[in-house]
C-alpha cells in the first residue's frame, strides 16, 4: 500500500524520474487535448450542431459565465487558465471510476504544482491589469498595517489550495481501500459514487477560488 502515486516509479535516472502521477497526467492530457482536437476539427457555425460540439460549447459557456459572475470584466482573458484548471482536476477526479486508476490529484506534488501555478498566475494577471506598482499596492490595503497579513494570506491560501484538494482526493482513496478490507460489497460502490461527487466539488472549488483570487488582484478601484 502506497500513500501517493508518486511512489510508483517506472524509470529513474538521478533526479529525473517517471512515476505514475506523470504518466497518468500525460494520459489525461492526451485525452483532453486529443478529444478537443477531434471534436473541434469539424465545428459548425450553423444553428444545428453535433452533440459533442454542444457539450464543449456548454462547458466553455458555463465557465465564461461563472468567471463573469465572480466579477471579472473580461472572462475570455482568464477563461483558458481557469477552465483548464477545472477540466484537468474534474477529469482526473472523474476517472476514478476506472478500476486501478489513481488520480494525479491524489498526489500532493500535483496539487502543489497547481497551487503554485495559481500563486504565480494571480500576480501576473494583477500586474497585467493594473501594473506592477498598482498590484503591489493591493498588499498595503486597506491600510499598510495589513501588509504582513496579506503576504501571509497569500502563502497560506496557496498551501490551503494544495492541501485541500490533495486531502480530499487522497482521503477518498484511503477510505475506499479501508472499506474494501472491512466490507467488500456495496459500501465501496457507494463511497466511489460519493468520491465522484467530491471530485467534482473539489474541481469547482479549486477553480472558483483561483478565479476569486485573480478577481481580487485585478479589481479596479
Amino acid at each position: 500500500m502506497h500513500l501517493s502515486s508518486d511512489q510508483v516509479i517506472f524509470w529513474q535516472s538521478g533526479f529525473l524520474k517517471l512515476n505514475l502521477t506523470i504518466v497518468t497526467t500525460w494520459a489525461l492530457m492526451l485525452l483532453l487535448a486529443g478529444g478537443s482536437a477531434l471534436i473541434t476539427r469539424r465545428l459548425s457555425t450553423d444553428v444545428r450542431i453535433s452533440r459533442w460540439q454542444s457539450v464543449l460549447e456548454i462547458i466553455v459557456t458555463m465557465a465564461r459565465q461563472q468567471i463573469g459572475e465572480v466579477g471579472l470584466e473580461k472572462p475570455e482573458k482568464y477563461l483558458p487558465y481557469i477552465a483548464t484548471l477545472f477540466l484537468f482536476i474534474a477529469t482526473a477526479n472523474l476517472c476514478t471510476v476506472i478500476p486501478g486508476y489513481e488520480p494525479p490529484t491524489g498526489s500532493l506534488s500535483t496539487t502543489a504544482a497547481l497551487a503554485l501555478s495559481v500563486f504565480i498566475a494571480v500576480p501576473l494577471f494583477g500586474i497585467a491589469e493594473s501594473g506592477l506598482l498598482g498590484y503591489l499596492k493591493t498588499y498595503a490595503e486597506p491600510t499598510p498595517i495589513m501588509l504582513p497579513f496579506n503576504i501571509v494570506s497569500e502563502l497560506t491560501r496557496t498551501l490551503a489550495l494544495a492541501v485541500r484538494l490533495f486531502g480530499n482526493m487522497m482521503s477518498g482513496d484511503m477510505i475506499l481501500v479501508i472499506l474494501i478490507t472491512i466490507s467488500p460489497l456495496v459500501f465501496p460502490v457507494l463511497m466511489n459514487i460519493l468520491g465522484l461527487l467530491t471530485g467534482m466539488v473539489q474541481a469547482y472549488i479549486f477553480s472558483i477560488l483561483a478565479t476569486v483570487y485573480i478577481a481580487a488582484a485585478t479589481r479596479t478601484r
Binding site: W26, V47, L79, P80
Partner: protein, 260 residues
C-alpha cells in the same frame, strides 16, 4: 516526504502544456464558432428586422395608395353621379318638352278633327234636311225645294230691293257684272225668273251670269260689285239649332230646378 519536487516541476510544466493545448484546440475554436454563430444570428435578426421594417414601410405605402385610390374612386363616382344626374335632368326636361309639344299637337289635331267632324256632321245634317224638305215639299205641294228657295229669294230681293238697289249701281247708275251663285243647278224657268227679278230691281239690263258653287251652301247668293244678298239653308239651320239649344238649356234648367 509527500512532495516530490521533480514531480511538482514536471506537473507544472505539464499543466502549462495542457493549457496551451486546450487553448489551441478547445477554447479558441469553440469561442470562434460561438461568436460566428452569434454574429450570424444577430445578422439574421437584423435582416429580419430590416425585412420587417421594409414590409411595414411597404404596407404603409400600400395603405396610402389604397386610400388615395379609394378617394379617387369616390371622387370619380361622385363626378359620374353628378354627370348622370345632370344628364338625367336634361333628358327629363327634353322629354317633358317633347311631351308637351306632342300633347299640344295632339290637342290641336283633336280639336281640328273635332271641328272637321262637326262641320261634316253639320253638312250631312244639312244635306239630309235639305233632301227631306225637298222630298216633303215635292210630295205634299208638288213643288221642288229649289223652286221654293228661288221664290223666297226673289221675294226677299223685292222686299228689300229699294234698300239695296242704290248700292248695286255705280256712279253712272249702271251696274257691272252681276253674279248669281247657287248650290244646285237651275233650269231655264228658274233662271228666267231670277233674271226678271234682278232686272226689275236694278232697273237696267245688267250682264248677269249664273254659277254653280259650293260656297253658296244649300242656298242662293246674288253679288254685284262685291256686295252680296243671300239666302242660305244654313241660316235656317242655325236658327233651328239655336232653338234646339235653347230648348235643351231650358230642359236642363228645369231638371235642375226639379232636382232642387
Amino acid at each position: 516526504m509527500l512532495i516530490d519536487w521533480f514531480t511538482v516541476a514536471a506537473q507544472l510544466v505539464n499543466f502549462l502544456i495542457l493549457l496551451w493545448l486546450l487553448k489551441r484546440f478547445l477554447y479558441q475554436p469553440v469561442i470562434g464558432a460561438l461568436d460566428k454563430r452569434e454574429k450570424k444570428i444577430a445578422d439574421e435578426l437584423k435582416h429580419a428586422a430590416d425585412v420587417e421594417r421594409e414590409a411595414a414601410r411597404e404596407n404603409a405605402e400600400w395603405q396610402q395608395k389604397n386610400d388615395e385610390f379609394e378617394q379617387q374612386r369616390q371622387l370619380m363616382l361622385k363626378q359620374a353621379t353628378d354627370e348622370a344626374a345632370t344628364r338625367r335632368n336634361a333628358l327629363l326636361d327634353e322629354a317633358r318638352e317633347e311631351s308637351d309639344a306632342l300633347r299640344s299637337r295632339l290637342l290641336e289635331t283633336l280639336k281640328r278633327e273635332q271641328e272637321e267632324r262637326r262641320e261634316e256632321s253639320e253638312r250631312r245634317i244639312s244635306d239630309e234636311i235639305f233632301a227631306l224638305a225637298g222630298k216633303l215639299l215635292t210630295e205634299l205641294a208638288d213643288e221642288s225645294l229649289e223652286s221654293r228657295i228661288i221664290d223666297k229669294f226673289c221675294r226677299k230681293l223685292e222686299t228689300s230691293g229699294d234698300m239695296i238697289a242704290g248700292r248695286f249701281g255705280d256712279k253712272n247708275g249702271t251696274p257691272k257684272q252681276a253674279v248669281v251663285r247657287t248650290a244646285f243647278p237651275l233650269d231655264q224657268a228658274q233662271r228666267g225668273k231670277l233674271s226678271d227679278t234682278i232686272t226689275a230691281l236694278l232697273g237696267s239690263e245688267a250682264p248677269l251670269s249664273f254659277e254653280l258653287s259650293d260656297k253658296a251652301g244649300c242656298g242662293i247668293e246674288f253679288c254685284v260689285n262685291g256686295l252680296c244678298v243671300s239666302w242660305h239653308f244654313e241660316a235656317a239651320l242655325d236658327a233651328l239649332k239655336q232653338a234646339a239649344e235653347a230648348h235643351r238649356v231650358g230642359a236642363v234648367e228645369g231638371d235642375s230646378a226639379n232636382a232642387e
